[in-house]
């Protein structure tokens, strides 16, 4: 009995059991018709695959870690009731605008107050997060507890500014940028900075006591504080470091 289409295709794709494959090959050795059908199927498959490859695009450079972060944000979005992420972001900016004037004053009660409002609107954040965006102070920023592992991820279509990191005596990581230069999202161990102004420079203050803080721009690690050990792709020393922000995969514009 000849090989049917199912068995020929399975033989081609390695989907026959070892015994069935052996049996099929035995048949093929004595049957020119089935050999011809198999050869034809093989040739057609090669042709089709070659045609399909013509429409392929380069594989995007996406890392598992970035997708895990996406999952964290998707989880946060689905937990927020009655509000889409966009609406939350709008409310955040509104509150942050009110509080912005007092943001830079040490010991101000306003950050706590902002925190309690954003907590009500956005569901319970896992970290104590304060954000401000004000044209009166000339900066926008975010402040995040740094008692655990923290990844600060810069992302944007085009990055061209720079990051200045200074070690501080406080307990929170603070990030400042010109107003409107970026959006800030904090979730679990990630702090995502969506860069809107490609030329913007960011000021990052990291507590000397922070156990583990990493700064990344897309794929590239710019800075890592691991306990007392600091490593950076930029320049500087003794508690003050500079690093250029460049889009992933492009060479640095500055030393």
């Amino acid at each position: 009995m000849h090989l049917d289409e199912e068995r020929i295709q399975r033989l081609l794709d390695g989907e026959l059991s070892p015994a069935a494959a052996r049996e099929a090959r035995e048949h093929l050795s004595g049957c020119a018709d089935c050999r011809r059908l198999l050869a034809e199927a093989e040739r057609e498959e090669r042709e089709v695959n070659a045609l399909l490859e013509m429409i392929d695009q380069p594989i995007p450079p996406i890392r598992a870690e970035a997708v895990a972060l996406r999952a964290e944000l998707m989880g946060a979005a689905s937990r927020a009731q009655h509000a889409s992420l966009l609406r939350r972001a709008a409310a955040f900016v509104l509150v942050a605008g009110i509080a912005g004037a007092a943001y830079a004053i040490p010991g101000s009660p306003l950050p706590k107050w902002v925190h309690s409002i954003t907590e009500k609107m956005a569901g319970r954040p896992e970290r104590n997060t304060v954000s401000a965006d004000s044209r009166t102070t000339g900066v926008s920023g975010i402040s995040v507890e740094a008692d655990q592992r923290l990844v600060i991820l810069f992302s944007g279509d085009s990055l061209g500014g720079q990051v200045r990191v200074t070690l501080s005596e406080g307990s929170q990581v603070q990030i400042q940028a010109p107003p409107g230069a970026a959006t800030f999202t904090s979730k679990s161990e990630y702090l995502l900075i969506g860069v809107k102004d490609p030329a913007a420079s960011f000021d990052v203050r990291i507590p000397r006591s922070a156990p583990w803080v990493e700064i990344r721009a897309g794929e590239d690690r710019l800075f890592l504080k691991e306990g007392l050990r600091i490593s950076t792709s930029g320049s500087g020393s003794a508690g003050s470091y500079f690093m250029p922000l460049t889009s992933p995969g492009t060479p640095s514009q500055r030393p």
Binding site: D4, A41, V48, L51, G75
Partner: protein
């Protein structure tokens, strides 16, 4: 030195991602003709898997099923999608100076005809052809497309024939 720690879910996820992201992306890109959408949907499918907190029984079939559902919903929700990483746009095709204008035009024609042939195929056959081209197992294909595993071979042969007939028809016509 302490004992080697057991792999966490995060480790398992990273391993699965490294092994299968590319082919899920390529499958979706061929399916949709929209690399950006494919990258988003593939990421979202993996993100959903991460959000589960544990691996499903058949992770690859699970990813395909979820990606297909996301893909069907994507058209209406495109503007709401989170864009964390925007992959490089597919402009590489025109990046190199063309050595021969005729060859470039011919290649562009072929790409268009392949695209048209895929778009004209019945949905199930298109999915079969593209999944197999990425090397997915018969079991995963049967699972993801809800077909009987024992007839995947025949269905694949039929899908290949359908593609060749439509593609051949379009090249004859042009």
């Amino acid at each position: 030195m302490g004992p080697e720690r057991a792999p966490t879910f995060h480790d398992q996820f990273v391993e699965l991602f490294e092994a299968h992201f590319q082919r899920l992306y390529r499958y979706l890109s061929r399916l949709s003709g929209d690399p950006e959408l494919a990258a988003d949907v593939a990421q979202d499918a993996f993100a959903k898997l991460y959000g589960r907190g544990s691996l499903p029984d058949a992770p690859e079939a699970w990813l395909i099923t979820v990606a297909l559902n996301l893909f069907r919903n994507a058209a209406s929700t495109r503007t709401r999608r989170l864009r964390l990483l925007t992959p490089a746009r597919g402009e590489a095709v025109l990046a190199d100076p063309p050595s021969s204008p005729d060859a470039v035009i011919e290649a562009e024609d072929t790409r268009r005809q392949v695209r048209q042939a895929l778009d004209r195929m019945p949905e199930r056959e298109r999915n079969m052809l593209l999944l197999r081209a990425e090397g997915y197992s018969y079991r995963d294909i049967a699972h993801a497309l809800h077909v009987n595993e024992t007839s995947v071979g025949v269905l694949l042969a039929r899908a290949r024939r359908a593609f060749r007939e439509i593609y051949g028809g379009s090249t004859d016509a042009s």
